[in-house]
């Protein structure tokens, strides 16, 4: 192995450190955890297109890492994708496919199709054999009509009229199974998606905070960020907190003068 780490010519993962990591793990080193989104994401098809929904909580184990993150990712002007699983994986895979779709649009001169995004996602995820932990709800409207798909970390896909993914998927699916019908109006679709996400927010501990909604129809996409905010902070102390000097005990102080250590030379700006 050469001293420097070489990235494979086509980009992608570098496996140079795998051997070292395995050796360290054997010696008892605890690997850092991944931030998962512990999520509720949903999508449904209504009469004019698709509606996608997601909660906004990102968790690191039992701690909320981000109270208002964005889980509905842009793929194309007419295609959006909700992501559950490891946050870095969903972010990376949707960004990558979004770029590929844009290049494809330039090459073909046409609007992107949902099945294109679907095939790009599933082949990428399959080739990583489930190690890229991204569970997605992909939805959009193209020339062939409205489409909604789910994509699993190992690369399998389903095409459905309504779908839910993430740790809150059961709570959300119970709402969909009770109230979904074909030919919903836009208002009904948004309401149903919001209800399903709220079910996940309140009944699943991995989901929480706010409801994001995205409505995609022929020729128009509306990204309703924080469409509902059903979880305001319940109590704020009117007294407030002050952090005055002296409140924290200073055990020792050491002051190092930097000026005598740094040489200031006269030279042109930006000169090497």
């Amino acid at each position: 192995m050469a001293g420097a780490m070489d990235l494979p010519a086509k980009g992608g993962f570098s496996f140079d450190l795998c051997r070292r990591n395995a050796m360290l793990a054997e010696k008892g080193l605890k690997m850092p955890g991944f931030r998962k989104t512990g999520t509720t994401i949903v999508g449904l098809v209504f009469q004019d297109g698709v509606v996608l929904g997601a909660d906004t909580r990102a968790t690191e184990g039992p701690i909320v890492a981000d109270k208002n993150c964005e889980k509905i990712h842009f793929m194309a002007p007419n295609i959006y994708c909700c992501g559950a699983g490891t946050a870095a994986d969903t972010e990376a895979v949707t960004d990558m496919v979004s770029s590929q779709l844009q290049l494809h649009r330039y090459a073909t001169g046409r609007e992107s199709r949902v099945v294109t995004a679907l095939t790009l996602l599933k082949s990428h995820l399959f080739s990583y054999q489930g190690h890229v932990s991204a569970a997605l709800v992909l939805g959009g409207v193209d020339v062939t009509g409205p489409h909604l798909h789910t994509v699993y970390p190992h690369g399998s896909t389903d095409t459905l009229p309504f779908a839910t993914m993430g740790s809150g998927s059961l709570a959300a699916m119970s709402v969909f199974e009770s109230k979904y019908k074909e030919g919903l109006t836009r208002e009904e679709g948004i309401q149903l998606v919001s209800d399903a996400i709220c079910a996940g927010i309140f009944n699943d501990l991995g989901s929480g905070s706010n409801v994001d909604v995205c409505v995609i129809t022929k020729g128009k996409t509306e990204y309703l960020r924080n469409h509902q905010l059903p979880n305001p902070r319940t109590y704020v102390s009117s007294k407030g907190y002050s952090f005055t000097k002296g409140q924290t005990e200073v055990l020792s102080t050491k002051i190092t003068q930097l000026k005598p250590k740094v040489e200031v030379t006269e030279s042109d700006a930006m000169e090497e």
């Binding site: 512990g38 902070r233 007294k239």
Partner: protein
């Protein structure tokens, strides 16, 4: 850990806090009971009034907690019959420690905070680990949100170090209302970041007039 066939415990989550004042004691706990990523109930009390001036809040495995509370309540009743008076808080503190250590090799999965008034009427808080190690302090937090709450209490209530001599009193100079306000704010903050804490907050205040109970809503997500 649950890959072993013999893991008999379960963590039902939740957080407990107690703050001692000059002549009062505040004991608070959230009311959410959970298992895994699900909520079992939003309305479960983790607080047990063991004696008129002594209140115990426990988080952890509710099966063990119910058994522990029942055990202590029964022992307190026996004490009443034998001594013709109710158990004082320091006495109950010792009893709880002994009860926990009794099961040193099959512990109660309970993280306890005992609060009340001592024999002089001053507020006292005792904090425990799962096997009975305890200490009298001015304030404490236990449970899933404890690591979020303790640093804030340390900053606001500044407990004196036990290494500094002469020994200084750990009870806070804050008034009862200020202490309750602090506890509410600190729980609201812990609820924002801990998924196992939320729904409702139960606050019990003990002073020489008796025991008062208050509930406030917390985030339900």
């Amino acid at each position: 850990m649950s890959r072993r066939g013999d893991w008999v415990y379960e963590n039902n989550g939740g957080t407990c806090v107690a703050v001692a004042g000059a002549d009062y004691c505040v004991v608070a706990a959230d009311t959410r009971l959970s298992v895994g990523y699900s909520i079992l109930t939003r309305d479960h009390s983790k607080i047990c009034e063991l004696a008129d001036k002594c209140v115990l809040a426990s988080s952890g495995f509710q099966g063990d907690i119910k058994a522990l509370h029942k055990n202590l309540a029964a022992r307190e009743l026996l004490y009443q019959h034998q001594h013709n008076k109710r158990m004082s808080c320091p006495a109950m503190a010792q009893l709880l420690s002994n009860t926990l250590y009794y099961k040193r090799f099959f512990p109660y999965y309970a993280f306890n905070v005992l609060g009340g008034l001592d024999s002089e009427g001053k507020g006292c808080v005792f904090t425990y680990d799962a096997v009975g190690s305890y200490e009298r302090t001015g304030y404490s937090a236990q449970g899933t949100g404890s690591s979020l709450i303790m640093p804030v209490l340390d900053n606001q209530l500044k407990s004196p170090s036990p290494l500094l001599l002469p020994a200084r009193d750990a009870v806070t100079p804050l008034s009862e209302l200020e202490a309750v306000d602090l506890v509410k704010d600190v729980f609201a903050s812990a609820t924002e970041r801990d998924i196992y804490t939320g729904d409702k907050l139960e606050i019990v205040v003990i002073n020489k007039a008796g025991t008062k109970r208050e509930y406030i809503d917390l985030r339900k997500d």
